[in-house]
């Protein structure tokens, strides 16, 4: 069953998803996972928030991944997000110059997370956004959502996803500006103000 017959495509049935569980913390997070922006880059934005469950309780054990384009809208093809030290085997952190577009962070004991990355550029007819993938104990399959940025109302109004949503639901995908370059984006897995999650077909 687990040796896939690649001669006939219909036999390549997908491997089922499972929860990330509670004990990934020593395996998946890496140094500098939340610091995606090259040091001192003028287009740096900070996005932060909480992940909460159906009772509004923050999750201290959620894992988030962020993937986004550069400010000019191009998608990075650069490795080095989790550079390693050949001598010690430890994580070195990023090299401070290159932009990989990929971040990974675990919520802290308060259920809070942050990422510092570059402000994404627009692609096609879409308003600029960061793609976010959410993993957690209890979540049998990860969830995709998006962080959009306030400011350009015309671009947000024309976005192919946002324009399909009712106002209340749409609002869950647009971060709130707290100060120049700092945005709040909470992820509510269930219940009041539940975040819009996406399914790609």
């Amino acid at each position: 069953m687990t040796t896939t017959d690649t001669s006939s495509p219909e036999n390549a049935l997908p491997t089922p998803s499972h929860t990330v569980g509670p004990f990934y913390g020593y395996a998946l997070p890496f140094r500098g996972g939340e610091d995606v922006a090259p040091l001192g880059h003028p287009d740096t934005v900070t996005v932060h928030g909480y992940v909460t469950d159906g009772e509004g309780t923050p999750l201290p054990d959620a894992l988030l991944e962020v993937w986004g384009p550069a400010p000019d809208g191009t998608l990075p093809a650069v490795d080095g997000s989790m550079r390693r030290d050949a001598a010690t085997g430890d994580f070195l952190g990023r090299n401070g110059v290159e932009f990989t577009g990929f971040g990974r962070m675990q919520t802290d004991a308060d259920g809070h997370w942050y990422v510092r990355t570059l402000r994404p550029g627009a692609r096609g007819s879409h308003a600029p956004y960061l793609s976010v993938c959410v993993f957690a104990r209890g979540l049998l399959q990860h969830l995709f959502t998006r962080v959009y940025f306030p400011g350009d109302d015309a671009a947000l109004a024309a976005d192919p996803l946002l324009s399909r949503l009712e106002d209340e639901r749409r609002a869950t995908l647009i971060a709130a500006e707290e100060s120049a370059g700092t945005y709040r984006f909470d992820i509510r897995l269930q219940g009041e103000g539940e975040t819009v999650f996406l399914e790609f077909r």
Partner: protein, 257 residues
């Protein structure tokens, strides 16, 4: 009232019967668990109740999600795929080799992508601070590995057979032995986190996490096959496990394959 295994067994059977009935009525096969699967108690407050919003990727070829982060040699060290060589001493337990191919839904190899694994040690204990199970830690085993798939989509790990471990879902709950896998595809939409199991584990029917995959054939795909040709003489037992990534991807990105 503490939940017993019997309570959980009944819930598992009810979900399985409901799925069988849906399929008999013409509903599609479900390859993945439903996020709302109450026998796994942690899922109850952590799944969305609103339907997911569908995005047709064919109409949106510029989607960020149709590309994937890149990983390379800088992100890997030489011993990362050998979990038995990460400390000065030999870890305790039965050495195993785990190998297979990473494929997309068309059966084509996914090359140069990152596979990360983590697992409990031979005694069923994770090297994690919050782990409460009082089985012994092994100073020579952390249980974390990483590799990039090769040009045929192959991956290869050398590790230790993990032990089963208890958890607190219900009274006398035990997880069958498993290795956690985290996998990237050519598109972020193909992202997969899952668990690999070992053949003939007597704990399978009791485990609500494995049973959350209600389709019998899909559940079987989480179980590796013992493969004598992967066993290394005088060293390790071999298991084969192929991984097929779901989720749409942009075929126009596949030039040169």
């Amino acid at each position: 009232m503490t939940l017993t295994q019997h309570d959980i067994d009944q819930e598992i059977a009810a979900h399985h019967a409901a799925y069988t009935e849906r399929v008999a009525q013409g509903a599609p096969v479900e390859h993945h668990p439903r996020r709302d699967y109450a026998p796994y108690r942690s899922s109850v407050l952590r799944h969305p109740k609103q339907p997911l919003v569908a995005i047709d990727v064919r109409r949106n070829p510029e989607l960020v999600e149709l590309s994937s982060p890149a990983f390379g040699e800088r992100d890997i060290t030489e011993t990362d795929n050998d979990l038995t060589r990460q400390h000065t001493g030999e870890p305790i337990g039965e050495r195993i080799t785990v190998s297979g191919r990473l494929l997309d839904r068309d059966g084509r190899p996914v090359r140069g992508q990152l596979i990360e694994i983590w697992q409990a040690n031979a005694a069923g204990r994770y090297a994690h601070q919050r782990e409460q199970h009082d089985a012994p830690l092994d100073p020579n085993f952390t249980g974390v590995g990483r590799t990039l798939t090769d040009d045929e989509g192959r991956y290869h790990f050398t590790t230790i057979q993990p032990g089963p471990y208890p958890w607190r879902n219900h009274l006398n709950a035990w997880r069958p032995a498993h290795i956690h896998f985290s996998v990237f595809g050519t598109a972020f939409t193909q992202r997969l986190v899952t668990q690999m199991y070992f053949p003939n584990d007597p704990l399978f029917p009791y485990d609500p996490i494995l049973q959350s995959v209600t389709d019998d054939a899909a559940r079987q795909r989480l179980v590796a096959t013992y493969d004598h040709s992967l066993s290394v003489p005088e060293f390790s037992l071999g298991y084969r496990w192929d991984i097929v990534l779901d989720g749409p991807y942009a075929t126009w990105m596949e030039e040169g394959r």
